[in-house]
Symmetry: C2
Subunit: 106 residues, 2 copies
């Protein structure tokens, strides 16, 4: 299992509509990817690790897929439509990472 | 529900023992935190979002707790012991973030 993490850097004055992201954007991603997206999670950054330190990321999502190939097959054909939806909730450019899920939930 | 994300930046020549992290360090964290740690996940960075781009983080873990206070109460008394274990698997300093879990798994 792999996860694709999409992480939105926390910049002063950046725009991020968490409600749209949760209620519209991520359901759009899931509906277009279908079974290729096994599940997903959504986070909202609260704080950094030290007192009064801001969160590094304003928001994150993690999309779980069987493999990198499964992600590409599910996301690729809809990339244009999904990317076009991003300006509706943010003006940030996300950092994207693909990880192997070493421990899924314990 | 909140999650504490511990993210190890992917630096050239950095040391990271993924086996020790999975088999020793994270079980130590869970055993010391007890019920305060509802669950955790572990990731190993594979790649970035663009072709031939490296992963931003070499490894990540996400620790799920009922609240920031529950995390602090569970982690605080064992922080010294847990921190002292870090050099056994890495020479990296992690980026830490606390997030609200907006969507837990869908």
């Amino acid at each position: 299992m792999i996860k694709v993490s999409v992480m939105y850097p926390n910049k002063p004055d950046a725009r991020f509509d968490h409600t749209y992201y949760r209620d519209k954007h991520m359901p759009l991603v899931k509906s277009r990817m279908g079974e290729a997206c096994k599940s997903y999670t959504v986070d909202r950054g609260l704080a950094g690790g030290a007192p009064d330190q801001p969160a590094t990321y304003m928001a994150m999502c993690h999309i779980y897929c069987d493999s990198v190939e499964a992600f590409q097959a599910g996301f690729g054909p809809h990339a244009k439509e999904i990317m076009a939806d991003i300006p509706k909730y943010t003006d940030l450019t996300p950092v994207i990472q693909i990880s192997e899920v070493v421990v899924g939930q314990r």
